[in-house]
């Protein structure tokens, strides 16, 4: 069973880049990712640039509208994701709880909707 772990946190939460705390957290992320890889559960994982680099696209009446940001007033933003393959929701939430950012942000656990491609 595959799940996407969506890592949300306030952009100001967590240690600031350049501080020793930030370096320590990076080590935690590496350790977390290695543990997942060793357990054979990780299929993909990427961190994302900040929301100030985001662009939003929508198509209405056949016209493509491209805007800067979402800049929604949401407190927490998506900072990265892990795609994992584990036994069940308990296993997925256990991995989610181990994410370093879970201590100050939150992790949304979403089951993948598997679509059988006929063929």
């Amino acid at each position: 069973m595959r799940y996407l772990l969506l890592l949300y946190s306030a952009e100001t939460a967590g240690p600031a880049p350049g501080t020793p705390e930030h370096a320590a957290e990076m080590q935690q992320w590496f350790a977390y990712s290695s543990e997942m890889a060793e357990a054979g559960v990780m299929q993909a994982a990427e961190p994302l640039h900040g929301i100030d680099t985001a662009t939003t696209v929508c198509v209405r009446d056949e016209r493509t509208l491209t805007t800067d940001g979402p800049f929604a007033e949401t407190k927490e933003v998506l900072g990265g994701f892990y795609l994992i393959d584990v036994e069940d929701l308990d296993a997925a939430t256990a991995w989610a709880a181990k994410a370093p950012s879970a201590a100050y942000g939150s992790v949304e656990v979403r089951p993948i909707l598997e679509i059988d491609v006929p063929g």
Partner: protein
């Protein structure tokens, strides 16, 4: 669903077993429930006085499995698994130890923390207790459509997100069981506190909750007895012995608290008749007519609590039950064993540090050692910055000041309590107390 008497008779016992077995067979709670329901409908149509099967449980399981296969074929769900499912029709009913696990798994699945509390309650009543959607909707004063939607959403989430229907590992068993007992207690409280609604009498929810606690305690006991003996043959024998030990230990902890909760509910329910006056208003424990209490139920509560305490694993529900038991056995409010109650609240506060528990302890202190000591205990809680906006704390404080003849301080405390709101009956009660002061 109108059930014939024989069918109704086996329903209570066989429903949770049937749903639990089917849930494991099929890996889908919704389909398990539908097939179980279809099997009972067929039983109602077929069973007569002369034609009841020898083993109703096995008959129901075979019928339900056939119904499930029919449904799958019709809906073309799980078509890839159909060959395996077809085999089900010939699989014998599960062994007793497997059944225990299936039933526990069903309870833990329904009370999984990935579902919201309302959904956990509804699922448990539907899947484990076998209440109909209409009955649950009536009990919680929502429309049947709303309740049906709630149940469908919960079952969908269990299937799509693969919420495990299994007995948790020993490390998680304690937390998971706390969630289960929380659901059971919420069902009980819903039946106990609200006025009786139409149709399903809400008091029935109390019976369902007590039945659930009984079943869970029984299942935990049987599971404990079935923990495999440790055979010392492999290198990792020590590790396995540790695992079996911690599993057994977690199961005993769980059973002690489940029995404690059952005792607490028995003591509380035994006082149902004295709780309200003729006008339907709440009567304080202090003022209740104790002759109205159900003595047989209180005795049963003491028996169950005795069984819990004999396991020697004290926990919050057992302590609350012991406190309720001490009240239930006392001839009057003044005659209550307050010293024991003070001790039990102290113990409870250590397990569950809550200012409200400490406030109850302070009231017990005032009864055991006098109002001065009780007042000191309340002021200590307030000095730590807790319960400043809690009207019962100020009302309790006011009562103690009144007993100490500190009339002005008492009035001020009653007024503080009054200013913090409360329902009309409570407000009237406080105003009467203020009027009586002068």
């Amino acid at each position: 669903m109108a059930l014939q008497s024989k069918v109704a008779e086996v329903f209570a016992e066989e429903w949770p077993v049937l749903v639990a077995t089917l849930a494991r067979d099929l890996g889908d709670l919704g389909l398990a429930e539908e097939s179980a329901q279809d099997a009972f409908i067929e039983a109602a149509a077929r069973w007569g006085p002369e034609s009841t099967p020898d083993k109703p449980g096995a008959w129901l399981l075979t019928t339900a499995r056939r119904k499930a296969i029919d449904t799958i074929r019709r809906q073309q769900r799980f078509t890839d698994r159909l060959p395996a499912l077809l085999e089900l029709a010939n699989v014998p009913p599960p062994e007793p130890h497997r059944l225990v696990d299936d039933q526990l798994a069903l309870v833990f699945g329904c009370c999984h923390q990935s579902l919201n509390t309302e959904a956990q309650i509804a699922l448990t009543l539907r899947q484990v207790c076998g209440l109909s959607t209409a009955q649950i909707a009536q009990a919680f004063l929502v429309s049947e459509a709303t309740m049906a939607k709630r149940l469908v959403r919960a079952k969908d989430k269990i299937r799509k997100a693969k919420v495990p229907l299994s007995v948790p590992e020993p490390e998680q068993l304690g937390d998971r069981l706390t969630a289960v007992l929380g659901v059971v207690y919420l069902i009980f409280t819903a039946g106990h506190t609200a006025p009786d609604g139409p149709g399903l009498v809400r008091g029935d929810l109390c019976d369902e909750a007590m039945w659930l606690a009984d079943v869970v305690a029984e299942l935990l006991g049987r599971r404990e007895a079935a923990e495999p003996p440790v055979i010392d043959v492999t290198d990792d024998a020590t590790q396995r012995a540790d695992h079996a030990d911690s599993a057994r230990s977690a199961l005993i902890d769980g059973r002690a608290e489940t029995l404690g909760l059952r005792a607490l509910m028995l003591f509380t329910d035994a006082r149902r008749a004295g709780r309200l006056d003729e006008r339907g208003e709440l009567v304080l424990l202090e003022d209740q007519d104790r002759s109205q209490w159900d003595r047989a139920m209180i005795d049963q509560g003491h028996d169950v609590l005795g069984d819990a305490l004999a396991l020697n694993r004290i926990g919050p529900y057992q302590l609350q039950a012991a406190i309720a038991g001490a009240h239930s056995s006392a001839a009057t409010w003044a005659d209550t064993d307050w010293r024991s109650i003070v001790w039990m609240y102290g113990r409870l506060a250590r397990l569950n540090p809550s200012p409200v528990v400490l406030l109850n302890r302070a009231v017990a202190i005032s009864m055991a050692q006098g109002p001065e000591a009780g007042l000191g205990a309340i002021d200590e809680i307030l000095a730590r910055g807790h319960l400043g906006d809690y009207r019962y704390a100020h009302a309790a404080r006011a009562d103690l000041l009144r007993r100490l003849d500190r009339t002005d301080d008492a009035r001020a405390a009653y007024e503080r309590a009054l200013a913090l709101g409360g329902n009309e009956a409570e407000q009237q009660f406080l105003r009467r107390r203020i009027a009586d002061l002068s």
